[in-house]
């Protein structure tokens, strides 16, 4: 009997005091989580999301597999990196014209976080919000989960046919003409633009698309690479194998919390024959100079890598 009453007393205490306390704690945690969510996503997230969802509903779905609901699911994590972790400063994003456009940016940072952050800035900071369609390496299409994730987030395999179709749909295309050469640069070559590929210029001339040069400052220092190991890349079947010692440290797998700065340049309009190799090369040089110029100005303006 005594046991039972002890048990009953415990039950009383549990339901009388424990549960309300637990509820209060949970409600408090919920409120705090809501607050963090709102601060990260911004108060107008739902509106921004609706703008996008409506656009693709009108188009009758995206043929490349982009799903606005997936953006909603990934929004919190990307907003955390965009607003809290890298504390991105975005300059002149309103220079990006409406309709089809090609963004040309410098590529760096060993893994393409710069693409994700440019995507975030065009979703969270641009008006109206836009989805960035980046061209990913076809190697990524052979990876489980990664391929599906990229496709749902609006990324497409980097082929001229795909780019042409996207531009004809009036999409915003993000291109890194440096490609793998740029993203896997070792630390001592930071902020040195590599050679530009020319495919983007042929496409721009063919489809009469404006080009917006973009400079990303801050991505170069997120992973310190000391070089590339070509035999390891061959052995593992990777496009490139950078030597990044920080990966071996506990917590070093995360990029360093450098401050990201994105600078958008004035849109450039080109005209000419896409098959004229010399003319295309000249125009690519102009775009490269434009990116280099904004990059130099951004670097000069920066006081600290982390602040």
């Amino acid at each position: 009997m005594a046991e039972k009453s002890a048990l009953a007393r415990f039950a009383d205490v549990a339901t009388g005091r424990g549960l309300p306390l637990l509820r209060r704690v949970l409600a408090g945690a919920q409120r705090a989580a809501d607050e963090v969510t709102e601060r990260l996503l911004g108060s107008d997230f739902e509106e921004r999301f609706r703008v996008l969802a409506d656009r693709y509903e009108q188009l009758g779905g995206d043929p490349f597999g982009f799903n606005p609901e997936a953006v909603r699911a990934a929004a919190l994590a990307s907003a955390f990196f965009h607003r809290a972790y890298f504390r991105t400063d975005v300059y002149d994003v309103d220079r990006v014209p409406a309709g089809r456009v090609i963004l040309v940016a410098n590529h760096s940072g060993q893994i393409p976080i710069d693409a994700a952050i440019i995507g975030c800035s065009l979703f969270f900071d641009a008006n109206p919000p836009r989805i960035t369609r980046a061209m990913v390496d076809k190697w990524a299409a052979t990876l489980p989960f990664v391929s599906t994730f990229f496709s749902r987030m609006g990324q497409v395999v980097g082929l001229p046919e795909n780019a042409r179709r996207l531009l004809n749909m009036g999409e915003l295309l993000l291109v890194f003409p440096e490609g793998v050469r740029g993203v896997s640069k070792p630390f001592e070559e930071r902020y040195q633009l590599q050679e530009f590929g020319r495919g983007f210029m042929r496409l721009a001339l063919e489809t009469k698309t404006p080009i917006v040069p973009v400079a990303v400052v801050g991505a170069e220092e997120q992973y310190l690479s000391f070089g590339r190991v070509s035999w390891a890349a061959r052995a593992f079947g990777l496009p490139v194998f950078p030597l990044v010692p920080q990966l071996l440290l506990p917590g070093g797998q995360l990029p360093l919390p450098t401050k990201y700065r994105l600078f958008f340049g004035e849109p450039l309009y080109f005209e000419g024959d896409p098959d004229d190799a010399a003319g295309v090369a000249d125009k690519v040089f102009l775009v490269r100079e434009a990116v280099a110029h904004i990059l130099r100005r951004g670097l000069a303006q920066r006081r600290s890598i982390f602040l």
């Binding site: 779905g61 597999g65 489980p144 599906t148 497409v156 395999v157």
Partner: protein, 320 residues
Amino acid sequence: MTQPPPTPFVADDGAVVITGICGRLGRRLARKLHRQSRVIGIDRRSFPDRPADVEHHELDLRSARVRDIFRDGVRALVHLGVVHDPRGDSAEHHASNVAGLQKLLEYVEYFGIPKVVLLSSANVYGPRPDNPQFLSEDAPLLGAGPFSRIRDLVELDMCAQSFFLRLPAVKTVILRPTHILGTVRNAPSNYLRLSVVPTLLGFDPMLQAVHQDDVVRAIMLALAPTARGIYNIAGPPPVPLSRVIELLERQTVGVPHTVARLGVERLFRWRVTSFPAPELDFIRYVCMIDDSRARRDLGYAPTHGLVATLCAVDEERWLG
């Protein structure tokens, strides 16, 4: 979807020869066509419930008697008689497929028959990680690389292409439809008829499908006297595989690719399944086509929406 399909112009002088008429697609085509035109069927199988005015010959395509069928009053050949059987003897199939088509094209040339329609398939392009999202008719036919079974189909397509180029007077049409869904017994329909649909873990490619009756309509449009060329035939806009399975209300299970490949290889060898392991790439990578040329030149447009196209695999399910 609501507008009535344009009725193709079919003159009623002369017969249409349909090879492989006893397949499910062939029977559907015969039922549609025999009201407008005389229909002659050639197939090794019998055609028990055929319409009374359809003439049927139970013959192998390589048989010498096939020649007599073309002797007079034939205005078109529709070649559906491509044998696909992953179990059969591959050399024998190859011979019968390629030699069969060669013979038929010989008769067409000799007797001056003005029209040939070959039903090829979008599988000839092959699923590849570096495919453009939508392949045009000019894309290379790379499907045969990993799939020996598609080699026959690629070769037939090539045969018809060289015939098309060599004899401009014959209005040759090669149709490359994407996955045909319906009561037909092909790999994609059989796959979607499974009660638990296995998928590859982490892969969810965009897929296209076309309703069997839309393919029949495309064949009828291709029979128009002026139509000539190679045409991709697609159905409603593409959706991810996961959405297909969701719309069909099937259960699904994700299997890692290496496990699935080894498993299907074993099961195929033990004759438990008839899906060859390399064909797993069709649920791994994209193989989608751009059918704008058919829409422009043939006036083709699918009349079945996505749900109707998908649910067609369940028709006649319990009738055997």
